[in-house]
Symmetry: C2
């Protein structure tokens, strides 16, 4: 079933399943999209400010998207992202960490002259197995109004 | 060679090489991180607001990172991202599109009480083969001060 702007209220929230970032996934992603030594080489990583291997922040963002899609908040409507505000990488993600996402609708916007869709602003926290928030962001999602 | 905060000025810019997003890359990324029908299935995509297959916006963001790393603006210092502001997906990216990045330092920040590092705010535009800006964002990058 599709969901519409009317189906959401400020304060609505969801909790995703977990996803473990393996060393293999972290390395494959970094090799493709963020080939910096502190994501790829143990020795360089130890000498970096991270003091050990870390996953690319963009992998954390991608995993956050995957967990959010799978959480099914928007069901068949689909998540049409307009953009992201205030993305912050707050703590390192290490190979072996298990991430989950908590999302909350923080704003619901209708614009004059647009009768067909509105925007939900959804605050997303990506949290590791120790309860540490490793990333936060606000997703601006376009959601249709009931036909 | 490493680069330091003193090596950058507001207005400094770079242009990256190009990267072609193949249908294979788009599908593999979507399958892993953004498994929505308009990224994976031609027929569903035709019926979506995109009117055809598009790459995940998070793939565009990841490719932007890769092109920025390879452009070498920060050389051996590495790109330590604190976060991203105002990321906007402005136009669809289609399989076969070739993306490049133009970056410009828009702000250089020192904070009282932090003598070791500062922040560069870098405006990044991701541009397709037709000159259309498909994504923009401001990256907040931590850069060390000269020792």
């Amino acid at each position: 079933v599709a969901r519409f702007l009317e189906d959401f209220n400020v304060g609505d929230s969801f909790d995703s399943a977990g996803h473990t970032v393996t060393a293999h996934e972290s390395e494959a992603f970094a090799r493709a999209y963020d080939p910096q030594p502190f994501h790829l080489d143990e020795e360089s990583a130890k000498r970096s400010i991270f003091r050990g291997l870390t996953a690319s922040g963009w992998l954390t963002a991608a995993v956050t998207m995957r967990l959010t899609v799978d959480a099914g908040m928007l069901r068949e409507t689909g998540i049409i992202g307009m953009g992201i505000d205030d993305l912050r990488w707050l703590a390192p993600v290490r190979p072996g960490d298990t991430l989950r996402v908590r999302g909350e609708v923080v704003e619901k916007i209708r614009r004059e002259g647009d009768s067909k869709r509105g925007t939900l602003r959804v605050l997303l926290h990506t949290i590791n197995q120790d309860g540490v928030v490793v990333m936060s962001e606000i997703a601006n999602v376009i959601v249709p109004v009931k036909p």
